[in-house]
Symmetry: C2
Subunit: 406 residues, 2 copies
Amino acid sequence: MKRITELKAPAYFIASAAVGGREEWQGPLGGSFDFIDPSDSFGQSTWEMAEAEMGRVALNVALRKCDLSHSDIDVIIAGDLQNQCVASAIALDSFGIPHIGVYGACSTCTESLMLASAMLSLGSYKRVATLTTSHNLAAERQFRAPTEYGAQRPPAAQWTATAGGAFILSTDDEIINENRRRGLPVSACITDFLVGRLIDGAIKDGANMGAAMAFAAADSILSYFEESDLTPRDFDLIVTGDLGAVGSRILREILKEKLPSAVSRHEDCGLLLYDMSSKDVHAGASGCGTSASVLSTHFLPMLERGEVGDILFLSTGALMSQSSLLQGNSIRGVAPAVHLKSLTANNKRSSDKISAPCCNNDEVRISDTEAYEKQPSGSNAEGKPGYTRPDSGQISENNGESEVRG
Amino acid sequence: MKRITELKAPAYFIASAAVGGREEWQGPLGGSFDFIDPSDSFGQSTWEMAEAEMGRVALNVALRKCDLSHSDIDVIIAGDLQNQCVASAIALDSFGIPHIGVYGACSTCTESLMLASAMLSLGSYKRVATLTTSHNLAAERQFRAPTEYGAQRPPAAQWTATAGGAFILSTDDEIINENRRRGLPVSACITDFLVGRLIDGAIKDGANMGAAMAFAAADSILSYFEESDLTPRDFDLIVTGDLGAVGSRILREILKEKLPSAVSRHEDCGLLLYDMSSKDVHAGASGCGTSASVLSTHFLPMLERGEVGDILFLSTGALMSQSSLLQGNSIRGVAPAVHLKSLTANNKRSSDKISAPCCNNDEVRISDTEAYEKQPSGSNAEGKPGYTRPDSGQISENNGESEVRG
């Protein structure tokens, strides 16, 4: 069984956009989001509809960035965390773009990018888009309990991101060259991918999804380097979606034993989205919007600036429903991987680790996350020591209005 | 925007399998199912796990039919109706096959076949499988109410099928020829497909999904023939997934006005799975297992026998969650289409309609379904006039044991 698929033509990112809520805006990447609504409501009366609106905004901003209209997109591949992926279905119907719905839990971003590159390889589409969203307040009441209930969160719990990412890809040389002529960035491409396997890590705790997904991430990373001619040294970074502190520690322990050169290259989007030294997010960010927004705000810009040449990017999904957990079933993990390549990096790779905004240590300190639990609710208010407020004077926090940024 | 994708190499069906429960066994296609469990439980203690087991059985039977093992499958594309598609995730983890999860509600079967043919076109996979399941009792309590509650069903309501279908596809000439040499049927192929658009038919009633999906089916059929060089006369059948009586009537009314030649070619899987003259299924079958099992038990054998040459096959999905309905949102419909071609038909097409086991009338009589409502619960017991019991002596109905059939 061959796992890695080499694309005959690389799939180029011709635009991306990230949209987020209040917590995401206050994180280290907050200043790089394209659109923020500090009220988290995106002008809607329910959190579920807020997520749909967030998706709509993300796609619109991505289209605007490369000066396209919805009719320029041949297919969109979309998914979210709501039951029956209803957020993306509601988000996208007015666009009239042919639609493929996917469900990969928090692996949705990478799963969609992988399928988008497969669809492009058919040769009949010019541009394929992907959209991935999650909303903290919609997800909490669906998977666990409404936040008003005030259920206590254990240290391994993660904070579902209110965030979304839209990506537009193409394999058409003419489109790529036209983008470049017009000064629009073509940051990176996907050269190959590996479809993830379902891995049962025997975790039955819905508040410990990082652990449930870590084994799937390890399986995909080990399988990739077992089959590929490349080694971890050929990559600047190996990025997982939202393992958080607990899952990252498990993954690194496995890699330390089986593929030591991968350990120092590992980053996790779930540890990058929030300032974990000041925010009450326990083991980090989760939700499929995490890897989608961190890819758009952090890793694609790094690839575009040529700071990194190659990234193995794996969003990680925990496949469970409220029913399956109540019935005592364990959570299945899955971690599809795409190989992202910079178009500007000098093909020189550093054996040194690339610096990320936080959590650069090889050893993730779970004890750090335990400390957050002791903070009273609301301790994540502004002005707290260590709190990094992004420079975003454009956003009026008080009146809840939202604004598109450059 | 180009909608139809012509495959460079057709994707051949090298095996398929259909699995069902008691009601499906008692329907006109019951004798063609590969595996039946009249207890609907598939040896499991919950309906949710029964659906997972049903999926596992379907894939195993399909593999056995073409003498393959799970390691011969490069990728599986799977989906079901449970929240977070947890049935297929639980069904498939023990196989270790790289997995892509999709959510298209009742459009899952066609969506998966479309993606499977796209994945095969990458050239690096030999065999790609798809799996689609739905379980009446798991779906009812998730989308509406547990059946023990005894909620009254309106005439437009459909009966979620306890059924699943697994398909194995390949584009590899060597595999196709080897299958033929060994006398294994290669029934049909997919030559092209059209990705469906999300259509809001402004239906907010979760018990009238047929109406919600009819507009999406009409959009896909009209778009297909608008773009294609082919006309409805080039197809023996235009088959929808599970519009049922209400949705089929709406679709035919639209087609009568806009594409009259399509009307007489229309069949709906939701009207074929149960004997609607005797069964209390109201407007027909629904659930993504409907089109998957009817494709495997009815249409693929017809293509294999050469009784039909070309089928435009559209599973139809109603995208909604319990939350979205309670919040007053309308149901979005989607209807991806695949063009199925017989490998044995003489390329001669009849302008006469191909006879299907039931519901051959151009005009679907909704009044017929209203009559079922008047029947007391349990009136669908054996021996009722008009009840067609398939010849299936192999199945011991009393002890609930299941058995694989030829």
